[in-house]
Symmetry: C2
Subunit: 349 residues, 2 copies
DNA sequence: CTGTTAGCGCTTTCAC
DNA sequence: GTGAAAGCGCTAACAG
């Protein structure tokens, strides 16, 4: 039965050296005699010493607590679980530990959780924000100089680093895929024209059209609400034009589902007679439509990249916000394509 | 731009009181004048004070760090992700935060992670152990008086609390379910007779047989290796007896899969001509066979219970190890049954 | 290379 | 009710 905690002073006494020597050993300093170090280490083992990071951290008076906060909006969704796993991998191998919390899309919860992490002195935060998160929610954190990287979703006005999927590349690849399946009239369906994301994706569509086809018809670009209903409406309009499309890439999966609805209503079987690809945003619906090819990001890879970015910022002291883009892959469901998904875009680091 | 961290002393100065008064306010002590408290609180808000739990914890010299370690063997598996979510719920609402790490079934990783958590002064640990975890791995932790609860899997010799699924109740319910489907000759397949789990499950089978049928034939109990191959073998033996069974409840899902294999080999369609139910242990395979009804535990519920148990032990100072049992439910796949799963056994608290 | 001396930010007696 | 002082376990200057 050990009497209370064993401290550096205990082991100093037992090893016949002073506190600071022990401290040096703990930090792997080269200023200490090998024999002494060995002695100290063995005493530590014998007495069952455990390092008190809290105390060390307090003294160092900076937040190098070696703890990284990770806050996700829905851990129940395997996308975010995988994201957390990716983060954990790099965080662990950098000698940090991960504080992980789930907000369940609850802003109050998110605030609490972030506050709590701050009290514990996290060195940095990776946040997959709850819906409705605003820049002001992150204000105090960034003001205090704690590096933050926002993943998956954007927080509009926030001056923080973020990582999002490669919209342009994803749609580009989708179009290529459809072309390789023999389509030449491919529609771009859904999304509001006044959003940045819409333009990034549309840009991917146009670029692919330029590079794969002879050109494309702007009539094939049909905007709509980025919802299932919007998709149904959009496919209707797309099919009413002169030379009908035989395939569509959709702004997101909700639109894609809607497009499928619309096709079925017209007696067209999606996936067989008309190819549909959707960007995989509304991830809750991920497994719903097997006939659908989706453009998906690799969550673990995204987690790893987010963590790397954060660690970089932590070690760099203070770097300015940076937005990076995560690779994206086409996931082909059913036996209607090649393998299980080919990785595109930049390589994972 | 704030100059360094703002501390109690800053806010004491600004509020015109002393450090200790501030401290009392922080702890919500009733020994402080309401006016003073209000003043102090407002100053804290103005200066953007953040409580330093590390320092507090250091002074209190006990591990009431308000942090709970959670270590799971595979966060990629949604079962464990849900478990973590369940834990997080109660942990958060008790004002604790969760350190979550993933071991990927790697014992070294697990050791590292637990060590790291210890250094950070966790108040307790919930562990879903990696395969091969031994009592000795937990020895130092429990010796240091940190409450540990082991979930999902057992660690043989360890004197720690644990939470596992309700074997008896689960099999009982499975048999009831089969009876309600009209079966009267139901086999119990697979598992080694020399394990405690086997007997718990078999006991559920016998009890159900007693209560639902007139009695049962011990010939219908066929042990085997708890594996897919074992299941195939067991079903063969079960079908060779005088009055053949028309359904089986299996020791686990691996056995159940094997039984399905065996049935198909004999030209019998599992799920249609012969009902198979399996205890959902080999959770990796969860989604593999849609024809199968499984006995599953509710992972979130299990997480919540684990957390409750841990918190109880933490507040109780030191209680002896306790094993509790988590409710279990039947998950009926396909459209071959009623709803999506009915909850059985004890209610979740 | 090793020992001494101050604190990090907080809580906690114990006086006032 | 509120203030002064001591100290949790550790690290960071400096001396030796």
């Amino acid at each position: 039965m050990t009497k209370g905690r064993v401290t550096v002073i205990d082991i100093a006494k037992a090893a016949g050296v002073s506190k600071s020597t022990v401290s040096l050993v703990l930090q792997g300093s080269s200023l200490v005699n090998d024999a002494t170090r060995a002695k100290v280490n063995s005493v530590m083992r014998d007495l069952g010493y455990v390092y008190n990071r809290g105390a060390a951290n307090l003294r160092q008076s900076g937040s190098n607590s070696k703890i990284i906060g990770v806050v996700v909006n829905d851990l129940t969704n395997s996308f975010f679980a995988e994201l957390a796993v990716g983060v954990d991998m790099v965080v662990q191998s950098a000698g940090f530990v991960q504080f992980l919390s789930n907000t369940s899309e609850n802003l109050d919860r998110q605030r609490e959780v972030i506050a709590s992490m701050r009290e514990h002195g996290i060195s940095g935060l990776i946040l997959s924000p709850a819906r409705g998160t605003e820049a002001s929610d992150l204000k105090p954190l960034v003001a205090s100089g704690i590096p933050v990287v926002v993943a998956v979703r954007n927080v509009p006005g926030a001056k923080v680093s973020s990582i999002a999927s490669d919209n342009r590349q994803g749609v580009f690849a989708a179009v290529q895929h459809l072309v390789s399946l023999g389509h030449s009239r491919i529609a771009f369906l859904g999304g509001f024209r006044d959003t940045a994301v819409f333009h990034e994706r549309l840009e991917g569509y146009r670029a692919a059209a330029r590079s794969c086809l002879l050109g494309h018809d702007e009539d094939l670009v049909v905007d709509s609400a980025p919802s299932r209903a919007g998709g149904a409406e959009a496919i209707g309009r797309a099919l009413s034009i002169g030379s009908k499309p035989t395939a569509a890439v959709c702004f997101n999966d909700a639109v894609a589902f809607g497009a499928c609805d619309g096709l079925r209503a017209k007696g067209i079987e999606p996936g067989k007679e008309f190819a549909v690809v959707g960007f995989d945003d509304v991830i809750e619906a991920k497994t719903a439509v097997p006939a659908l090819t989706t453009i998906s990001v690799d969550p673990q890879g995204m987690g790893r990249r987010a963590a790397q970015l954060l660690l970089k910022q932590i070690s760099a002291g203070k770097a300015e916000a940076e937005t990076i883009v995560s690779s994206v892959r086409l996931v082909v469901r059913e036996s209607c394509g090649t393998g299980n998904g080919s990785t595109l875009g930049r390589k994972q680091a």
